[in-house]
Symmetry: C2
Subunit: 118 residues, 2 copies
DNA sequence: TCACGGATCAGACGTACGTCGAAGACGGTG
DNA sequence: CACCGTCTTCGACGTACGTCTGATCCGTGA
């Protein structure tokens, strides 16, 4: 995409109404696409599923890395994407930081995509 | 992603259960990611919203191209992605082909992503 | 039958993305 | 304070993706 500057605050839970409600403007489409892109990767899907599995306790980076089979650096990179998209939240507890899902962001994203549910 | 061969039949409506239900396997994650990637583009989001807007009548490529401001070839390329992901369906009527949404595929995708809705 | 127009394909170009190794930045512990 | 484990940042490399122009297919209508 050799266009537009992606300088949007994607941490907010998706601003607009479902895409089924009518034609989506350029900037709204970009916001939706950026958030979807945050999840459009096998590793990130697996990371999110792991984080959702231990939603109450939270999971740290060092546990996630071996679970998905990539470097800790790569996991950190992916978690940053998910964090920037407002899909997960990380809180530091001592040495390591524990990640938990952001239900609001996830729900909003699902609500935008869906054709008629929710 | 210098790994795995993406030789999956993504036209089917996503096989597995919600990612919140537990850790997702490698191949399932790939399937989900591929389908999400099909929607993780501003142009494709707008295309889908336009197709959803005229779900009953259907929309042809020549109408979509000027609406999103790209070449017909590019629109055709994007529509192929959406078609391969099982998100839309195209039926030829004479000279031009009319696209309409695939509610099953869209619903399944939403259902996989959601944290608790639907 | 032939020309026209819509749709797709094919190749090319530039940019973005995922991955890694190495280095830096915090926090805790001896 | 020095050491160490955890997390993040920084370059760098290779691949994938979006976009275009030009070519090819296939119905339609004169």
């Amino acid at each position: 995409m050799p266009k537009a500057l992606p300088v949007l605050d994607t941490t907010a839970p998706v601003c607009c109404s479902p895409i089924a409600a009518g034609p989506v403007g350029e900037v709204d489409a970009l916001g939706i696409a950026l958030r979807l892109k945050a999840l459009a990767d096998p590793v990130r899907v697996r990371l999110l599923s792991l984080i959702l599995a231990d939603a109450t306790t939270g999971v740290c980076t060092c546990d996630l890395a071996p679970a998905v089979g990539v470097t800790e650096a790569t996991v950190s990179h992916h978690l940053k994407q998910l964090r920037d998209a407002g899909l997960v939240e990380g809180t530091r507890k001592g040495t390591n930081v524990y990640y938990r899902p952001n239900a609001e962001g996830l729900g909003a994203l699902c609500r935008v995509i869906d054709p008629g549910c929710c």
